[in-house]
Symmetry: C2
Subunit: 163 residues, 2 copies
DNA sequence: GATGATTTGCTGCATTGCAACAATTAGTTT
DNA sequence: AAACTAATTGTTGCAATGCAGCAAATCATC
């Protein structure tokens, strides 16, 4: 079910618990395979992001992870985020200074476009080979060797536009 | 030598004074046409960006504009930047928290790709209809109504790769 | 020059992000 | 199990980015 037409936006009625659980399982498997440690803190940060399904600022994550009195320091969250981003489990949304869990199973190098709804804050994730190639060609035409493209598009999602 | 394929990266040997002067003249004409005021501060900020030809942080601009003892407050620079961005004279590079003068004469709505050299910091500006359309189509396929795409590509420019 | 709108100055502060070192924990070896 | 090494987390502190709110100055128009 995954692969050909990946769900771009998570529909409001999707099985959220399931999708969170799946993503967590995937994260565990991936860390296992790489001999990386998905420690409690890292797991909590990932869970917070998966649960929200929207981009969260680092300080919002602090709120969400430290319920029981003691809340983690900012640097703790940033370190967990660094780990998750390096392992392709989380993306950083540059235009928002925020972070979002990746619900696709793509490689870190895969080309990704983020569609960010200005109204509800939802983020759609499109992985388009066509765009990647077009972009890559344009870069090369300018003598530029591309590395990590950041493509973030603001707009209004189908749901908010009132389908 | 230039012209049809618009200069993506400013070559290191281009007539810098000329290009700065041209851009300033264009900015003046544009503000005039719109009954907007290109005040001294706004002009100084634009000049600083044009002179550097690289993305500058807001606080770098403060350094560059306040030589004679009194340096402008951050908010002053941010306000000038807001004005310049609204009028399409300056772009914000989200992935760097930095700003760069626009040396093309495109409309605000035009689609622009920034090629950011990781080594020398130079920024190339490509305006590609093909990319714009591909992106727009992908967004629409997801039921998304796009507004302002941010496309920023890190990499190594031709000059630094040692042409 | 009085009036209203725009711009700038000023004070203060919120947000984002990380450095540096100590303490702890996990994993490995003897 | 004790010792050792590497990775992770805690703590303190702070740098960088960005803006709110109000007062003062400037501009445009009548």
């Amino acid at each position: 079910m995954r692969g050909m037409a990946p769900s771009v936006f998570p529909t409001p009625d999707h099985d959220h618990g399931r999708c969170t659980a799946d993503a967590l399982a995937h994260a565990e498997a991936l860390c296992e395979a790489r001999s990386q440690r998905l420690t409690p803190i890292r797991r909590q940060v990932l869970e917070a992001l998966l649960t929200s399904h929207k981009p969260l600022g680092a300080y919002e994550i602090i709120e969400l992870t430290g319920q029981e009195g003691a809340r983690p320091a900012p640097i703790t969250i940033y370190r967990a985020l660094d780990f998750l981003i390096e392992n392709g489990l989380v993306h950083r949304i540059e235009s928002r200074n925020a972070f979002i869990a990746c619900i696709h199973n793509h490689a870190i190098s895969d080309f990704v476009v983020f569609l960010i709804c200005e109204r509800c804050g939802a983020v759609g994730e499109v992985s388009s080979r066509a765009i990647g190639e077009t972009l890559s060609n344009a870069a090369k035409a300018a003598g530029f060797t591309p590395k990590a493209p950041v493509v973030e598009v603001s707009g209004i999602c189908a749901h908010c536009r009132g389908v």
